[in-house]
C-alpha cells in the first residue's frame, strides 16, 4: 500500500498541462466548454467496431490514459447505446456487422451524433467495397463527422468529437 501511494505521489499529475501540445490543450478546453453549454453533463460515447483491424481501438484506449485524460474533459464511454449521445464507429462496415450496427444506431436515443473513425470508416480504407464489406460507415448509417487516419491520433479523435458536438442539430 505504501509503495502504491508513494508511486502515485512521485508520478504526480501528468494530464497535459503546459508544456504539453498546445493543440491538445485548446481542444480540451473547447470540448469542455461546449459539453457544459449543450449537455450540462458528461458526453456519453458508445464505441462500435463495425469491422476494424483493431488499430483504431488502440488509439481510443489511449484517450483514456492520464495524458489525454478523456474523463477529465467530461467525456465518458458507456456500455450501452441507450446511454449514449454519440456513436464512435470504427472500421469499414462489414456484412456480418451490418445488422448489429443498425440495431445499435436504432437503440441510441435522439438526438444522436455519429463519428466515423479512421480511413476505413471514412472511405472503406484498403478494403473498399467487396462482397464481405459495405465500405464507409455513411453507406450504412448517417455520419456527422468523419475522422481520417490509420489510426488517427488521440488529438485528432478529440478534434473529431469536438467538431461533431459543434455541428448544428
Amino acid at each position: 500500500m505504501l509503495k502504491t501511494l508513494r508511486k502515485i505521489a512521485s508520478v504526480g499529475l501528468v494530464s497535459e498541462l503546459p508544456p504539453g501540445p498546445e493543440e491538445l490543450l485548446r481542444v480540451r478546453r473547447a470540448i469542455d466548454e461546449r459539453i457544459a453549454a449543450v449537455l450540462g453533463r458528461a458526453l456519453c460515447i458508445r464505441h462500435v467496431d463495425a469491422g476494424s483491424c483493431n488499430g483504431c481501438e488502440l488509439e481510443i484506449h489511449s484517450l483514456g490514459n492520464p495524458y489525454y485524460n478523456l474523463e477529465g474533459c467530461n467525456i465518458r464511454f458507456v456500455a450501452s447505446p441507450r446511454h449514449a449521445d454519440l456513436l464512435l464507429v470504427t472500421g469499414p462496415v462489414v456484412k456480418n456487422m451490418e445488422a448489429a450496427l443498425k440495431r445499435v444506431y436504432a437503440a441510441t436515443p435522439d438526438p444522436k451524433l455519429v463519428v466515423a473513425l479512421g480511413d476505413c470508416g471514412c472511405t472503406g480504407g484498403m478494403l473498399g467495397e467487396c462482397p464481405a464489406s459495405l465500405g464507409r460507415v455513411s453507406n450504412v448509417i448517417p455520419v456527422d463527422v468523419a475522422v481520417p487516419g490509420c489510426p488517427p491520433s488521440p488529438v485528432l479523435i478529440l478534434q473529431g468529437i469536438l467538431t461533431a458536438i459543434q455541428s448544428p442539430g
Binding site: 488499430g55 481501438e57 492520464p66 495524458y67 484498403m126
Partner: protein, 491 residues
C-alpha cells in the same frame, strides 16, 4: 523417427528459416498429421487454395522441432465436389480452420461439424447444455467496452460457467480475396492490417515470404530495425495488457500507470519512426524510414526508464493482495490441456508450452540475440501476467542491445516481383505468438493466394476451456489475460 522421413523427402520453401514442403495423397495427409502429433509437433495453419476451374489444394503447416513442415494435398475436382480428410481428431484447432476454409473456398473436410464459421447468412446453432437450473447468457457481438465484436454464449448455473461457446467471424471482411487484387509489392500494407495490434509481425512475415521468393538479401541494418519495431510492438502491447489486467482486477492504479508508460513509449516511437503505431514501417526489402543515431539513443533511454518502472510496478502488483487474489487460479489452463489444444505464443508459454519462434526458428537478427524464452507452468491469469512482465523486460534488454549496435549500411534494398507461382512462407513471433503468412505469386507482380494466420486460431478454443468452472464476472479478466484478436482470425 517417422516424422523425419517426411522432412527428408520434403523440398525447401523460401521465406522463414527451416520451412519445407511435401506433396501428399489423402492417406499420407493423415499420416503426416499423425506423425507430427506423435513427435510433439502441432498444426499451425490450414488453408485451401482453389483455382477458378475448380481444382483445389489443401495445405497444412505444422510446427515441428526441425522447422515448419507444409503438407500439400492436391484435390482435382474432376467436375464434382471435393473432400479432404479432416484433422480435428488429432488437432482440435483444425475444426474451425476447416470450417472457415469451407466458407471461403467451398471445399469441405470430413469433419462432421458442418456449421458455418465466417459465413453468417444462416442462423448459428449453439450446443445446448441441459439440466436443472442451467441457463444461457449471450454476450455480443457488440461488447460493453472498447473491444472487437464477437459473440459469447455462456451456459451457467448460478454464477458458475459450465460451458462457453464462442461464435466469431463478425469482422470477416474478405481479406484473402482482397490480397489477390493487390500488387504483390504493395500488399504488405494489407498484411499490417490483418490485426492492427500485430502490424509489424504480420507485415514482416509477409515481406519475409516475398523476399525469399524474389531472392533478395535483406540488408543487416534493415533486419535489425525490423527487430526493433517487433520488440517495440511487443512491449507496447504488454504494457497495455498489464494495465488493463490490473483494471479488470479492480486496481485502477495499474491502468493509470501502465497506460502512462505505454504513452511514453508511443511518443518515443513517434519521435524515432514518425508514427505512434508501426503500420507500414516494414516494407519489401527493409524498413520505410531509417533512424538516426540520436533518435536511437533517445528511444533506448525511454525504453530503459519504462522497463525500470515496470519492475517497480511488478513489485506493487505482487504485493497487492486483492490483485493476487483475482489473478491466482483464475482461468487455469493446465499444461497437458494446452499441449492437447496446441496453444501458442504467450498463452502457451504461460501453460508450459516452451515455444518461441525467436528462439526455435530464428531469422536475422534473432540468430545473434540469444532471446530468453519465458515459460511458466501455472496456466492461470497470474502466469499469463508473469510471462508478460518478464517478456517486457526481455524486450527491453533486446531493444537496448539492438539500438546500441545498429549495423551501418542501407535500411532497405530493392525487391523485384517474384516469378509467377513462386511460393514462400513467413513466420514471425509476434507479441501474441507465431504469425504465419503463406504467399503465392501470380503472373506480372500479382498475388495468386495469400493466407495470413494468427495464433488466436489455436488460443480462442483454449479460452473456452480456461473459463469452465470460473464465475461469469471473472470472464473479462480471463479473456483479457489471453487478449486474442478477432480481426486476425475473422479474415
Amino acid at each position: 523417427m517417422p516424422l523425419k522421413r517426411w522432412w527428408d523427402r520434403a523440398h525447401k520453401i523460401v521465406g522463414a528459416s527451416s520451412v519445407r514442403g511435401v506433396g501428399v495423397d489423402a492417406a499420407q495427409w493423415l499420416q503426416v498429421a499423425s506423425d507430427v502429433a506423435d513427435s510433439g509437433g502441432l498444426l499451425h495453419a490450414l488453408w485451401v487454395s482453389r483455382e477458378p476451374a475448380g481444382d483445389a489444394a489443401v495445405y497444412g503447416a505444422y510446427l515441428t522441432d526441425a522447422g515448419v513442415l507444409v503438407a500439400e494435398l492436391a484435390l482435382p475436382s474432376g467436375g464434382g465436389s471435393v473432400y479432404y480428410p479432416g484433422l480435428e481428431d488429432l488437432f482440435p484447432a483444425a475444426s474451425r480452420l476447416q470450417r472457415a476454409a469451407f466458407d471461403l473456398s467451398g471445399v469441405r473436410s470430413s469433419d462432421p461439424d458442418l456449421r458455418p464459421w465466417l459465413n453468417h447468412a444462416a442462423p448459428y446453432e449453439f450446443v445446448r447444455v441441459d439440466g436443472e437450473g442451467v441457463h444461457e447468457i449471450g454476450v455480443g457481438p457488440v461488447h460493453a467496452g472498447t473491444i472487437e465484436p464477437g459473440h459469447f454464449r455462456f451456459s451457467v448455473v448460478g454464477e458458475k460457467v459450465l460451458r462457453l461457446e464462442e461464435h466469431l467471424g463478425y469482422v470477416h471482411k474478405g481479406l484473402e480475396q482482397r490480397f489477390t487484387q493487390l500488387p504483390i509489392l504493395q500488399a504488405h500494407r494489407l498484411a499490417a492490417r490483418v490485426s492492427g495490434d500485430s502490424a509489424v509481425a504480420f507485415s514482416w512475415a509477409y515481406c519475409q515470404a516475398l523476399e525469399g521468393m524474389s531472392g533478395g538479401v535483406l540488408p543487416p541494418r534493415a533486419a535489425w530495425l525490423r527487430a526493433v519495431c517487433l520488440e517495440l510492438e511487443r512491449l507496447a502491447n504488454h504494457l497495455g495488457d498489464l494495465g488493463a489486467l490490473g483494471n479488470d482486477a479492480g486496481f485502477a492504479f495499474g491502468l493509470a500507470q501502465f497506460s502512462r508508460l505505454k504513452e511514453d513509449l508511443l511518443r518515443a516511437v513517434s519521435a524515432a519512426f514518425g508514427r505512434r503505431y508501426l503500420f507500414d514501417i516494414v516494407v519489401p526489402g527493409g524498413v520505410a524510414v531509417d533512424v538516426s543515431t540520436e533518435a536511437a539513443r533517445a528511444l533506448a533511454e525511454v525504453v530503459r526508464t519504462v522497463c525500470a518502472e515496470i519492475i517497480e510496478l511488478r513489485g506493487i502488483y505482487d504485493e497487492h493482495e486483492g490483485v493476487r487474489d483475482r489473478f491466482t487460479g483464475a482461468g487455469c489452463l493446465a499444461p497437458e490441456l494446452a499441449a492437447r489444444l496446441g496453444v501458442l505464443g504467450l498463452a502457451g508459454r504461460a501453460s508450459g508450452q516452451a515455444r518461441d519462434a525467436r528462439v526455435d526458428l530464428p531469422c536475422a537478427p534473432y540468430t545473434e540475440l540469444a532471446v530468453a524464452k519465458i515459460v511458466h507452468q501455472g496456466g492461470d491469469v497470474a502466469a499469463r501476467v508473469a510471462v508478460r512482465f518478464e517478456e517486457a523486460q526481455e524486450s527491453g534488454r533486446l531493444l537496448r542491445r539492438l539500438l546500441a549496435a545498429l549495423p551501418g549500411g542501407e535500411h532497405a534494398a530493392t525487391v523485384d516481383a517474384p516469378p509467377a507461382d513462386a511460393f514462400g512462407v513467413g513466420l514471425i513471433e509476434g507479441w501474441r505468438g507465431p504469425v504465419l503468412v503463406a504467399l503465392q505469386a501470380g503472373p506480372e507482380g500479382s498475388i495468386r493466394r495469400c493466407h495470413p494466420h494468427d495464433p488466436s486460431w489455436q488460443n480462442w478454443p483454449a479460452l473456452e476451456y480456461a473459463i469452465v468452472g470460473n464465475i461469469v464476472p471473472d470472464f473479462p479478466l480471463i479473456n483479457k489475460s489471453f487478449n486474442l484478436t478477432y480481426s486476425g482470425v475473422d479474415l
